[in-house]
Amino acid sequence: MKKITEIILKYSKLTLLLIVIITVASLYSIKTNFALETNLDTYMPKDHPAFIYSDKAEEMFDIRDAIMIAIENKEGIYNETTFQKIKDLTKEIQKLDVVADKDDVLSLYTADNIKGSEEGLEIEEFFKKIPKTSEKFNEIKEGVRTNEMVWKRLVSEDETSTIIYTKIKDNSFTEELYKEIVAISEQYSGDGDVTYVAGQPIIEGTMAILMPKDMKKMFPVVLLLIVIVLFIVLRSIKATLISLLVVVFSSIWTFGLMLGVGIPIYAPSSLIPVMLIAIGVADTIHLFSHLQLMIREHSDWTKEQLIKNMNAEMFRPVMMTSVTTAVGFLSLLTSDIYPIKYFAAFTAFGVMAAMFFSLIFIPASVNLLGLPKALKLTASNEDDFFTKNAKGFANMMVRNKKTVIVSTVVVLLFFGFGMSKVWINSSFLARFPDKNPLVTTDAFVNSKFLGTTTVNVILEAKEEDKFKNPAVLELMDEMALTAEKEVAIIGGALSVVDFIKRMNKVLHEDQEKFYTVPSDQNLIAQYFLLYEMSGGSDRLWDVVSDDFKTANMQLQLKGDNSKGLNATIATIEKYKEEFKALGVELNFAGSGYKVLVFNDLILIGQIKSLAYSFIIVIVLLSLMFRSIKLGLIGTIPIFITTIISFGVLGWLNIPLETTTALISSIAIGIGIDYAVHFIDRYKINALATQNKELTVAETMAHSGRAISFNAVVVILGFLVLTFSAFKPNIALGAIVSLNMFTSFIATITVMFIVLYVGNIYFKKK
């Protein structure tokens, strides 16, 4: 390091020039390669068996999430203007480029009305021309009421709302499309009609778009806040500006590299700048506060001497903290989710870049621009706050060590119990603020219709025509009815059974008692033949394959929260064995299910990475301090932090999801820094003085200052996230701030006591 510092001092201009060139190149890379990945499908691991299966089923049954447009008229929908709107809106939506096939738009205008006539089966539309008489309307109303396949599905029970389902092409959701659809539907509001736009593609799409936007808003706020804090802490414009450049440059290099190698910005990556600011600033504070301290203490030293001393003394802790932080993030590489891997890898890169800038850019800049102001002295030569109180604090800790240990255990037990309450929520909707239009519209559609979230139950047989078998169909019917009854969140089910029951009823003069599965397989087969020959639409093939070997039961859920999804899946899975006995395999598919699996993967990934990062941090600390004992002692603060962090989630009923699950790794990566600084200082002092009293006081004073500054900066930086529009970001900001605070307190209390009691670095008496 000494040599490097000398080179930097000798070629300061060249060093800065090189850094500026690379920064400009990175900016150019960001500009030319900028790409935001808003398609949530790309977030899912394609090679996971559950996803492979689901994708196959989605392909087979043309399973796609629908955008839903509801039209509400408080007076009821059966009037000319509302019907005209249903027709016109349906036609307008059918013409959109993202609609591949007119049949992909399902509304009262395009739906099949399967009904019986005196002579046979009729499959036709509910209306073609707008009815002019109330008799006509009553006829349609009666037709809808008695048609189990559309009642509540297309028209609400109170007959004040109707809905248009639109399946758009895969991967075609964009912000513009959403705006276009909202604009189109708004044209149809008025005359007592109100339109609502909802559906999973909109929620997912909007989230992927809004997350980075939200971060874009946060970034300058964080930056401004950091500038203020830096100035308060360092009392030097020069040092503040240089520190600012360090964190900004590290963000630019990181995004330049990421986009340069062709990786777009995924939602988690939008957190990188905030991470890097909070982390990078810590390095610069350590360096500058050391430099300013030395300027005060050694007013006779030259600039070069001061810079050399700064780099020599701070190289170790800065490197150690950066490496441990990077490792904390790198442990997330064990995740199956690529956006999280990218987040991990590039945040780690950014952390190392920030270290590089601290150790190279700061010396070079200071050399060229001159020294910052010396550390402000309170009064003449008196000790500052930290020096003054450190000793007293340390002594107090030592005196009350039993109390501290006992209260720590109590706290751990309390939060440890809270951990058991932690639950996972895969809901995308729950991440939006309660008053967001997406949330209110979704609630409206869920209150009137069967539900905005879909889970598909895929039933697979080995032989053809299995889904003409009455026993199999009856079991499906029983399963659907039980699920609808037992799981409150299930609004309704649609399967091949509904087609059969409907046909059986209408071919028996609409008698309710025939709304059942016929017991004769031949009759079922002949119904399907009749359906096909009567011009029944291809919508039948959305629920059964043409060889009747595979069936798809669509369950509509009123909401996408994990509790409801899990209850649904548990209820359905009870039928697995019974289906097996009939030679039918039961599996799940569709977006609702995939999101659930996705979130499980994220969580398993978190737990894995948490375990890995603990092990790696212990190994690293052991190596750095050449003592396994110290390695273990060093992890005390992050251990406590992790327990408290999950405990808080549990007690406050904050669910774990993709963002909050990152907390543990962030907490470890950043939280370990305090312990590293503290132990490093402790070691230096212990070896130098061999006096425990002196060591304790000096470590508390010197290290205490640096890490409390650091804690304040990082906590403030993350607290900015609480102004985010997204609930998970708010939770992330609050909890990471809390974590930093916990780590800080744990370091100077419990860990300090263990270190003290452990007698490390002191020869045995």
């Binding site: 087969a525 002949q526 043409d546 060889d547």
Partner: protein
């Protein structure tokens, strides 16, 4: 016969006539289409029909049908009896097609229900019994509905063929069709069907045809949906034509009676 009928129709569809670019080619394209449309067909007849549906995985479903048909001039009647699969055995389908624009009359007899059910006339672009043929593919299409163009004359499968492109005057289920019509026999060996985006959708290939009495009859043909990689093969056997079928063959009672 029914099959014969629908052969003829498929052909007819392909070969429509109208006003082309050059007068000479337009004239001949128009003539060719008319010749196909007006090709003489049997007055009545019967045959066994095998319909094989092959999906993209190569899995095959087979339907065996026995069919009768009779041409009354202004109306053409046909009855089809399912012989297999077993679950639809004895199900009978009857169809009356009218020469004018009147909708077809159709009935299905369901033996499990022991009832004849009338079928509302289905859209012409619906698949016929889940096959790759639509109802329209199997009916005569008046050549006046399309514009025809003779693209070229080629040697195809050892036959001299006219390659005719037919574009509907009013938007239809296909953007255009291109047919390879055998000179002098006026039956097509191949027809390509293009979808709304003018992308190739289906290819009909005639793999076997023979002359029975005075009529050219397509015995084996394959309709392949190239976009879905799905195909339907229709084969006729035991073909008898001009056998003087009685009118009672084409009644609901006959459907119930079965073969």
């Amino acid at each position: 016969m029914k099959t014969i009928k629908f052969k003829a129709r498929v052909i007819a569809i392909a070969l429509i006539s109208a006003f082309g670019i050059s007068e000479v080619t337009a004239q001949s394209a128009d003539e060719i289409a008319k010749k196909v449309y007006n090709r003489t067909t049997a007055k009545d007849g019967e045959s066994d029909m095998t319909m094989k549906l092959v999906n993209s995985k190569g899995e095959t479903r087979t339907r065996l049908i026995h069919q009768f048909f009779k041409d009354y001039g202004t109306v053409e009647k046909k009855t089809m009896f399912f012989k297999s699969p077993a679950d639809v055995k004895n199900t009978a389908f009857m169809n009356w097609t009218y020469d004018d624009d009147k909708d077809d009359d159709q009935w299905l007899y369901l033996p499990a229900l022991k009832k004849v059910k009338r079928i509302s006339s289905s859209s012409k672009d619906n698949a016929f019994m889940g096959s790759d043929f639509t109802y329209e593919d199997m009916e005569k299409r008046n050549p006046n509905k399309d514009t025809h163009k003779l693209l070229r004359t080629v040697k195809y499968k050892n036959e001299t063929c006219y390659v005719i492109e037919s574009t509907p005057k009013e938007e239809g289920q296909y953007a255009k069709r291109i047919a390879w019509v055998i000179k002098d026999k006026w039956i097509p060996l191949k027809i390509e069907f293009y979808d709304e985006d003018v992308e190739l959708l289906k290819v009909l290939t005639i793999t076997d045809y023979k002359k029975i009495k005075d009529y050219w009859i397509i015995v084996n043909q394959e309709m392949k949906n190239v976009q879905k990689n799905h195909k339907t093969i229709i084969t006729l056997s035991n073909i008898k034509v001009d056998i003087g079928l009685g009118d009672t063959r084409f009644t609901q009672r006959a459907m119930q009676r079965g073969l």
